[in-house]
Structures are given as structure tokens and as C-alpha cells.
Amino acid sequence: MVKIVFKFFIVISCFLIFRGLVAEPLLDGADFDYGEYLSGQCLTCHQNSSDEGIPAINGADAVYIAKKLILYKNKELENEVMQLVASALDKEQIASLAIYFNSLEK
């Protein structure tokens, strides 16, 4: 019985780690609904219909999105529009956007 419980624990842990949802502090406090609302600001430019000039980000890895936004926020990546957008986002908002865009179909 202990063995079964242990196996179950391992499987669940692997699943959650695989999804990047447990051991990733960048995504702490993420709120899916809030991400959906905030995404409106991004969707004016970022759409799947085109990758020309502005990258399509739907379905991108959540941690990747969060890291990029933090780099823009810290002005370590260039682009005035993105620096402006990211500068107005706090940690929870970045995490919320990251999980929301990750959930969208590529």
C-alpha cells in the first residue's frame, strides 16, 4: 500500500513538474482570469494570424513568457513598446499573463 501511494506521489509530482507548475516561483500567484483580461493589451499586436514584425506568442512556454517580460521590465531587452507594457506589470500580472498565453492554441 505504501508503495502504491509512493508511486502515485511520484507520478503526480512528475506531472506537475513537467507542467512547470510547482517548482517555478516565477509563476506564483498566477490568476488565469486576470491573465485573460490582461491579455487584451497584448492581443492588439500579438496574434496568431501573423508572425511578421511582431511574434505570435500563443501556446509559448509559461516560464519563457514570464522571463521575457521580466527582461523587458528591467530594460535588458530592447523595444520601447514592450518595455512600456512590462514596466506596468507586477509579478502576479506577469505570472497571470504567462499561464494564460501558455493555455492558448498555437
Partner: protein, 422 residues
């Protein structure tokens, strides 16, 4: 709470709420009704977001006279030959097919705000629980002595996209060799602050190739304009000696225009043009006036929601609103539409309402592969929409960066039109 369980919890909560709410929304007639007037960057976005995000819980009707919408943004690029006309035209088919928006191609004639009904050109009425007005601008034809509805074929304003821009392009292409193109920009506040100056750039771009001895004279009712240093440096770089910009203090004021003689009279001088683009003063679209939600020429709004100050059931978006620090642009209207859509859903279906967040970027094209931009973030203050932070392109940033900015604007055009019409 980790994210997986939060999402599951949210889904479960939504499912439970839907079940509880079933009796209220199971019949079409019982669904709350939102009517949106005007299918531009504000209205099409609002209709799409309310329908999409409420997942059928709200009955959305979009009233728009045109079957094909030609965007004002990028109409200057059509004028300059960088886009073909069809590429700036869009249909509303996907809003019905993908989101169940009831698109009615008609004019909204009047609003009875106490009965909450909109009367259409056909004579039919549509009732609403919440009304979104996004009518854009009306041209104040009588704001320039000598200008009129009839004058607009001789001296096109071309400020609402569509056929007027076609007329202007034909006139520029057929201008006599060595002729004069005159531009009269509008006084503040007006739709698309950098628009007149991007237009001058696009006309200069055509003339440089097809009519290099032609001149452009800009008779401005203002003493300064958006992205002025960037535009003027661009004109000097790409079209040296072609563009003469005359500010209001220098010419002393525009007294009148004469479409028959193609003359523009100021205190300083009378300018004779071969082609003239005359853009008069503007005001909120007539339906906002009719609904009684304007104060003077524009409609004051509550910054946190875009509800009008005059009537909480009526929202005004985009050019027609007094959005204070936000310019009258398609990007602004699209941004405001999302704030309003979130608020309306909250009011009608008890969905979560998040704090208003606004943004805007205006890209302009100065010459081939030379794009510039200005942008800002905004917050909802108590009385006004306020700037949080802003940026503008730099004069010395180099060709590679300018090319990238232009390419970014193409991405934005594809993005915003997908956000409005898909």
C-alpha cells in the same frame, strides 16, 4: 493555491455558476442585451470581446452601416502606394460566425435612453441593457468658411478612410507637373494626431518619384504637432526643399477656402493649390450627440469603465470620448473597448471586473522602411485618464531601427484587425 488547482477551481466555479444561472439565460429573450453602435476599432472590439468572453451569456448586436470597413489607420499607406485598397478592407462575417454577434448593417438614428432603445434607419428599434457608442468622428463642415459637404470632392478631407482617400490618391497622381499640394490639418482635438503629417510624408513619397518638381505647403491651424521633430527631420532627409510647413502664428489664421478656385486664404497670403487636402475640425459622431451623452463636441466618460458621465447604461469609446491624455486613435479605442467589455460583463453577468488598464502606440511611416512611433501607458484617475509612462522614437536612432519599427507596425496592423474582426 497552485495554478492547476486554481484553474480547476475556477472552471468548477464557472460551471456551477452557469448551472445556477441556467434558468435565466436558457431562453434567448432572457439574456441581457448589449447594443454596440459603430464597427470600428472601438465598437468591433467591444462587440467581439463581450460576445467571446461571455460565451453566449450576453446577446450582442452590432449596428454598423458599412458591410466592408476600411480602416483609417494605414489609409495613408494606401495613399502612398505601400498598401493596396483591398488590404485595408475588412468584413464583419467572422463576428457573427465565430462569436454569435448579431451584425445589423444600418444607421443608428436616435437613442431613447429612458426606454433603452435605439432606433435604426429602417425604422426598427433595438432595445438594450447596456449601450456602447463608438461612432468615431463627424466632420464639422462649417468650421472652415467656404468648406461644405459638396466641397469634399474638390478638397477631400479623406479623414474617415474609404472612398475619400481614393479620391485624394487619384488627385495626387494626376497633379500637374511642378504643381502645389496644399494640406490644411485640423485644429486640436482630432482623430489621429500624427495622421496629417504622415499624410504629408506619403504624398511627398509619391511626388518625389512621379512629380519631383512639385511642392507641398502645409497651412496649419496649430503651432506645433505630434512627433514634429521626427517628421520635419524626415522631410528634410528624404524630400529636401519639397515641404513647407507654415504654423498658425506665421500665417495668422485660415480665413476661408474656395473649392472652385482651389484657394486657401490666410491673414498672410492666399495660397493657390492644384490639389488640396482640407481637414476641418471634428466632433463626436452624431449618435453620441443624439443620445445626450456629450458635453460640447465630445462625450465625457468615467475613466475606470468608459461609462458616460451622463448615463451609466451608455458607454462611449474611442474618438467620440473625452479620454483626456489618450489620443484619438484606433489603438486607444481598441484598448478602451476591452476595459468597457470587462465592466459590462461584470455588470450583466457578475463576472470579475479588473482594474482599467489602457495603452496606445501610434506608428507612422515617413518614407520607405522609415517608421517612427510614440506610445504611452495610462491609468484611470478619479476624473481623467492619466499618463503613467511614455516613449517616442529618437531622431538619431539609425536606419535599421526605423525599418524594424515599420515592420512592427505591419505586425500591429495584422494584430489589431484580427483583434477586431476574427
Amino acid at each position: 493555491m497552485n495554478n492547476l488547482s486554481r484553474r480547476s477551481f475556477v472552471s468548477f466555479t464557472l460551471a456551477s455558476t452557469s448551472l445556477l444561472a441556467m434558468p435565466a439565460i436558457s431562453t434567448g429573450s432572457a439574456r441581457p442585451k448589449v447594443v454596440v453602435v459603430g464597427g470600428g476599432a472601438g465598437g468591433a472590439t467591444a462587440a467581439r470581446y463581450i460576445a467571446k468572453d461571455s460565451k453566449g451569456a450576453i446577446d450582442v448586436t452590432l449596428i454598423e452601416a458599412s458591410k466592408h470597413y476600411y480602416t483609417c489607420f494605414y489609409s495613408n499607406l494606401y495613399l502612398g502606394g505601400f498598401r493596396d485598397y483591398d488590404s485595408i478592407g475588412h468584413s464583419y462575417d467572422n463576428l457573427s460566425a465565430n462569436h454569435g454577434v448579431n451584425v445589423v448593417h444600418d444607421w443608428a438614428i436616435s437613442v431613447d435612453s429612458s426606454a433603452r432603445k435605439v432606433r435604426l434607419g429602417s425604422g426598427a428599434t433595438v432595445s438594450y441593457d447596456r449601450l456602447v457608442l463608438s461612432p468615431g468622428i463627424d466632420i464639422k463642415y462649417d468650421s472652415i468658411d467656404g468648406y461644405s459637404v459638396e466641397a469634399q470632392t474638390k478638397m477631400p478631407h479623406a479623414w474617415k478612410s474609404g472612398t475619400q482617400v481614393k479620391v485624394l490618391r487619384d488627385q495626387v497622381l494626376n497633379m500637374p507637373k511642378g504643381g502645389t499640394f496644399a494640406m490644411v490639418p485640423p485644429p486640436n482635438p482630432y482623430r489621429c494626431p500624427p495622421g496629417p503629417y504622415e499624410r504629408i510624408s506619403m504624398v511627398a513619397h509619391i511626388l518625389k518619384e512621379k512629380n519631383p518638381t512639385a511642392k507641398i505647403v502645409v497651412i496649419d491651424p496649430k503651432n506645433k504637432f505630434s512627433k514634429q521633430g521626427l517628421f520635419m527631420a524626415g522631410w528634410e532627409k528624404y524630400y529636401p526643399g519639397m515641404v513647407e510647413w507654415i504654423d498658425n502664428d506665421t500665417h495668422g489664421g485660415i480665413k476661408n477656402v474656395n473649392p472652385e478656385t482651389m484657394e486657401i486664404e490666410t491673414d498672410l497670403d492666399t495660397f493657390k493649390a492644384d490639389v488640396a487636402c482640407v481637414v476641418p475640425a471634428q466632433r463626436a459622431g452624431a449618435i453620441a450627440m443624439n443620445a445626450g451623452v456629450t458635453d460640447g463636441d465630445w462625450s465625457p466618460i468615467v475613466p475606470a469603465s468608459m461609462q458616460t458621465k451622463a448615463d451609466g447604461n451608455i458607454y462611449v469609446l474611442g474618438d467620440a470620448s473625452v479620454a483626456s491624455a489618450m489620443p484619438k486613435s484606433g489603438f486607444s479605442a481598441n484598448s478602451q473597448a476591452k476595459v468597457a467589455a470587462n465592466h459590462i460583463r461584470g455588470e450583466l453577468t457578475d463576472s470579475r471586473v479588473f482594474p482599467a488598464k489602457f495603452s496606445n502606440t501610434c506608428w507612422s511611416l515617413v518614407a520607405t522602411d522609415d517608421g517612427i512611433k510614440v506610445g504611452a501607458n495610462y491609468r484611470a484617475g478619479e476624473e481623467k485618464i492619466e499618463v503613467v509612462d511614455k516613449f517616442v522614437s529618437k531622431t538619431d536612432e539609425g536606419n535599421a531601427k526605423r525599418k524594424k519599427t515599420y515592420e512592427e507596425s505591419i505586425g500591429w496592423y495584422n494584430g489589431i484587425t484580427t483583434d477586431m474582426f476574427s
